[in-house]
Amino acid sequence: MKTLVYIDHFKGAVQPSSWEALGVAKKFGSAVAVVFGENANDVAKSAFEHGADEVFVADDSSLKDYLPETYASTLSALASTLNPNLILFPTTARTRELAAMCAVDLNTNVMTDLTGLEANGDSFVATRPIYEAKLFEKVNCVGKPVMATLRGRAFPKPNQETGKSGTITKVDAKGEAKSTVEGYSASESAVNLGDASIIVSGGRGVSNNPSLTPPAGLDEKQAEIWRAQQGFALVTDLAKVLGGAVGASRAAVDAGYIPYSHQVGQTGKVVAPDLYIANGISGAIQHLVGMRNAKVIVAINKDADAPIFKAARYGVVGDLFEIVPALTEAFKKKLGK
């Protein structure tokens, strides 16, 4: 059984669930990693250490930036040559497009966001959440090759064998770009909620600290956002000491407290970290569907009747502006940071 594994990275920073996909491929037989774009050779080296048997690299200047059309044409051409049984991807913004387009090219289809994948003769049975994870379905793909994107953290990460290497084969870029990258905006920090094992989130409540006096000259809305930013600074401090990512409820995003890329829940990201700490989040159903599969949920809210407590393992009824900094200090002490 031969599996192609697309290693998704941004300027050389690999989406960790790419390695999980390599681990799954190894379970079925040989794992052929595919790396495109800038810094592809460094990523290729890392792919060997994570279990790849061989690596195909396309680092033509036309592939410097990810663009769906050229990446898809290059990957489809490679798949037609190598004729794998299975093509695996981590589930990311890029791979949903890329896998979608390759499926069109190869006249098959892609099963997305899998939480399980088993071989069944020369076919595969995949498990995936539907209806916001209210249900799961088992599906199979009758097209060849079978294509799938794997949900981050749903499969074990393979052990890294430092120094393991192998043969890197260069391939040419294919296809024509249909858009150009005009730039990146550095105004927003990177948020990767899908791969985070710990998420500390803030909601509408983070702006609700009456003891703060905003700087002069702000109107009411600006003062509210200023207050919220002070609140999110506390949330961020706690996330930092735990090595986690910062999430937010839709209410906080809609109010302009924090960029959309932090949003957990319906119309944002669905996450399943080991630890989820919800601060000043009431727990609307649209938020709960996005985080209720976290292993341990902690809720801090001043309203004892907030629905978030029904989903939580631990709850604190209290003022997050007192509890959160105290919790950060307690962890600093206990974790020796």
């Binding site: 858009s179 949003q263 080991d274 630890l275 105290a326």
Partner: protein, 255 residues
Amino acid sequence: MKIIACIKQVPDSEAKVKADGGQISWGDAPLVINPFDEYAVEGALQQKEATNGTVTAICIGPETAKEALKHALAMGADEAILISDPALNNMDTLGAAKVLASAIQKIGADMIIFGRQTLDNGAGVTPAQTARLTGYPMLGLAGNIKVNERSVIVERVLEEGKQILKANLPAVISVVQSIGEPRYPSFMGIRKASKAEIPVWSLSDLGISAPSEMIKRDELMTPPARETVVEMITGESPAEIAEKLADKIIAEKVL
């Protein structure tokens, strides 16, 4: 400019969705326009206003899906078309993309706008598959759209930050919530929508046969119910509460 908004009808987010004898049931919960697609309609209406264009909402689904199209009309779409055919009962994402691509070609458009994914299947691959089939550029996860004559610039919201992409029209765009809060249907809009005659196209109207289903469902499963009993942490001071809570979290071995 001619803009198409692609929408779907799904059970409301609050619906208790269950597996019932191998079928999906949502009881008497209402069917609504896919919440992500409300942003698609909003994005389309913004471009209609910016370019003095028109918006056509299209939807694949049963007769009842006309209600989702009426919502788009009430928000301000100019026309709506339902694509309905019994042969489309078992349709995967690629099948949907094939049907949409032929409808888009029949209607003709400068810009095709999707929501980022649906609430039901949630694959989020149909926009890119439609782009691939039509040969139009794919501009995914746009939080902002600006048209300048025959080109379009979008700001993509990615895991690593924002990426600015430029392409020629026609283009396929999927939007995220940053595009702006979907407007509420106006009273006039609701009246107009309630009277609207929505044409229904079959596969033969599109001149295509039923796409074959590549992904087949073998089984439906209800996830095991999680019985979480919340343990409230109390104490005399924030420091004492924090101390106890930190110990509990450390004992869970999730750090």
